[in-house]
Symmetry: C3
Subunit: 138 residues, 3 copies
């Protein structure tokens, strides 16, 4: 069995944002030489997500509006977590969008359907944060 | 290390529906001959889910009503994604229900609790779509 | 390839509660001797979750309030699943918080970001329930 990992760094300039990280994950896979296996991609921070969906700006706007309706940022005083911090909503939004994805590796490629793309979802940005890629297989 | 994969095809006649796919996944596992490992089952389309819950019709009705309350289909004009398409709500519902499950394989069986069953959740049906089963182990 | 698994038992005295299970998962990993691989941790029951977030009491209170707003327990008659049972809301809450996490294993440790902790989330407690830890690698 082979394994490899890589930490990807991001610094999103706004509080929230979505970044397509598929090319970085594909590069990790190519470097690993793994042909058959599983590829885990997870946010290493608990106010961020990794998820798979469509690379379409309208949809990303819809996610932003929808998440803000499900788990509003303001008033920040509505959350007990917000003593020193103001990011309780980010911990909630991350649960809706998920921490991680596991992608099959087949014949040396991410085994994707027609529109699957991997995104980093930031809900409390303006600082450096990491995503972990871990691939096992052979 | 052994690995195997199989793509399962579905065509749900309505816009939304849930299908118990546990027998198909068990068949893949039996064919693989893998005794110990991990089994990934994921929707290959971004308006569908794979999730584990109860095979109970009342609960599936409750999911339908609840998801429609959290992420309503109509009016379709409320979503920017809905230019050529009318399925933005399906992309949102899929995030709540999840893209994938990873199930342990122990002694050649899916290592399940008492009521766990794997479902395909369709939120934008009436066309052919796929689920991927990927199993690695030995 | 090596593999190991362990079932952890819990009995939460209230209907709902969160328990940090990171030390138990770390113990399983140490016993396995696995240095590089993947660690799956999943609820074996469909009214409970395993998720990764912050070990902070204020946040756990926020999750409780928020989940009760997204998927209220009462009135129990609002759910068709609630014939013999009264736990339909627990099946809904579990979908928001997730069934499982997959954690990378690197150099014999859970490969975590600075604040990641693994939690068991109970939404229909007052009885014995299980979490599965399955680790594969070498």
């Amino acid at each position: 069995m082979k394994s490899c990992h890589k930490e990807l760094w991001f610094e999103i300039p706004a509080r929230r944002g979505f970044v397509n990280i598929t090319p970085e994950v594909e590069r990790c896979l190519a470097e690993s030489g793994i042909q058959e296996g599983l590829c885990l991609v997870n946010a290493m921070h608990i106010t961020a997500s990794v998820f798979i969906n469509d690379d379409e700006a309208g949809l990303h706007h819809d996610y932003e509006v929808w998440l803000e309706r499900l788990a509003p940022h303001a008033p920040t005083s509505q959350y007990r977590h917000n003593g020193y911090e103001d990011n309780a909503d980010a911990h909630l939004k991350r649960q809706v969008m998920g921490r991680e994805v596991v992608v099959a590796v087949t014949a040396g490629k991410l085994h994707f359907g027609p529109w699957e793309q991997i995104f980093y979802g930031e809900f409390d940005g303006r600082r450096k944060k990491r995503v972990l890629v871990k691939i096992i297989g052979e």
